[in-house]
């Protein structure tokens, strides 16, 4: 089977698992919303919250990403399905792309919720002129996060102490996305007088990031999951 067909098969399977179990909807989304509320408790200043809202949205995304990646691979390792996929000769590159696709779709939903929470809780206001930049930022950043999450999730999946290893490995790597996506979102929302033109260079960085880890992950995934 071609890599792309496997990717579609695996992605459909992951989304179906989510459709039937609702773990992301019932547990991860409330967790993310909770994090947003906790930020408000910690900062306790509405003006400050509005100012730092883009950063908090992306920070909450990073925390939720860790949980989602763990869920994504718990599904594979709970009953030895990852081993079975390997025995079935399913190309690792296809598994990688498929799981990243499903993770990206779930991340996109998560981010809509987080953006909604920012609008409601932090008085964030969307600016008409920044919508294109905002959507592009979300697409590029989500793609990159989905790739990195799947790559390091696969590496940690078979390991002892995977719950603690995953954030240690993954969070330093996603730092450029946190910085880039936050700056671009600020530009799109006009935070502190920023304009959309300030945001576009960051899109370049986000796209490069997604490209590097997309290609790297497709090539390297096999050696990382092979125990």
């Amino acid at each position: 089977m071609s890599t792309w067909r496997i990717a579609r098969l695996v992605a459909a399977k992951d989304l179906r698992v989510e459709w039937r179990s609702r773990v992301v909807v019932n547990q991860v989304l409330p967790f993310a919303a909770l994090v947003m509320v906790m930020f408000a408790f910690a900062l306790d200043n509405t003006q400050l919250l509005t100012r730092v809202a883009p950063g908090l949205v992306w920070l909450a995304t990073m925390f939720s990403l860790v949980v989602m990646v763990q869920r994504s691979f718990a599904v594979e390792t709970a009953d030895g399905a990852l081993d079975a996929l390997q025995v079935a000769g399913v190309r690792p590159g296809g598994i990688f792309l498929g799981k990243a696709l499903a993770l990206g779709a779930q991340l996109a939903v998560l981010q809509l919720v987080l953006l909604g929470a920012a609008i409601v809780l932090y008085r964030t206001e969307l600016v008409a002129g920044g919508i294109v930049l905002l959507v592009t930022t979300y697409l590029a950043a989500t793609t990159g996060l989905a790739f990195v999450g799947t790559l390091y999730g696969g590496l940690a999946a078979g390991a002892k102490g995977r719950e603690t290893l995953l954030p240690l490995l993954m969070l330093p790597v996603v730092a450029p996305v946190l910085i880039g996506a936050t700056r671009a979102t600020e530009a799109a929302l006009g935070t502190e007088g920023a304009t959309p033109s300030d945001g576009w260079p960051w899109i370049g960085l986000l796209a490069l990031f997604a490209l590097v880890f997309g290609v790297g992950g497709t090539l390297a995934f096999g050696s990382l999951i092979d125990e």
């Binding site: 089977m1 599904v75 399905a81 390997q86 025995v87 399913v90």
Partner: protein, 227 residues
């Protein structure tokens, strides 16, 4: 519905499994300590032996999951020392784990694993039928099934995979009398169609009647037994 196996020229030359003095390690423990075993195509071989003797490791090694540390090993003509991934897709492994997705239904699981070899809908239905699952059970999530029903589902997935070499680890465990009969009939049918079957089992009476040859695994080594 029998597995379709088209022997190639290479298959005629090479035995299904040829292990010579194979050592395989789990961490620093030599699970296999110089195991040698030759299995011809179409044979049904029973592996017996005490717990911890290395039966599971032997099966995992043949499936290309466990690396060959020392010695020589070819499975279906593929050299496992040079590239243990080369044999994948041509073998089917039923290990201790079932390799099922607990949130998906029985039919979803069989369909997913069947799709990895492009099984048709007809073949999927036949696999379910074979293991007595083509009824109301087909639409029940695997997580809600009993251990025996899960085992049946895993076997149905294996049937749908149409492997040339079937590796089964304690397949009888957890099955009721009807399930065992269906399993035995399935394995006989597979062997008759040209597939090779290696079964590790403590059900010596039942599996012994099924097998064309019995070997004993003790201390990470293999010994032939008189029939």
């Amino acid at each position: 519905m029998e597995p379709a196996v088209q022997p190639t020229v290479r298959d005629a030359v090479h035995p299904a499994v040829a292990l010579v003095d194979v050592v395989a390690v789990l961490g620093s423990f030599p699970a296999l300590a110089g195991a040698s075993l030759t299995v011809q195509r179409g044979e049904i071989v029973l592996l017996r032996g005490p717990n911890g003797a290395g039966k599971t490791s032997l099966l995992r090694l043949c499936a290309g999951l466990l690396p060959v540390e020392r010695g020589a090993a070819t499975v279906l003509g593929c050299d496992l020392v040079a590239d243990r991934t080369s044999v994948r897709n041509r073998v089917g492994l039923l290990g201790h784990a079932n390799g099922l997705y607990a949130d998906l239904t029985v039919a979803d699981n069989v369909r997913f694993w069947g799709a990895t070899v492009r099984a048709t809908d007809h073949e999927i239905d036949a696999s379910l039928q074979r293991m007595g699952l083509a009824n109301r059970l087909a639409d029940v999530p695997v997580g809600r099934l009993s251990a025996g029903q899960r085992r049946r589902t895993a076997l149905a997935c294996l049937v749908a995979r149409r492997a040339e070499l079937w590796l089964l680890d304690e397949p009888h465990a957890g099955l009721d009398a009807a399930g065992r009969d269906e399993l035995d009939a399935t394995l006989r049918g597979a062997a008759a169609a040209g597939a090779t079957v290696i079964v590790a089992s403590h059900e010596l009476e039942r599996a012994g009647a099924l097998a064309s040859r019995v070997v004993e695994v003790v201390g990470g080594q293999v010994r032939e037994l008189e029939r």
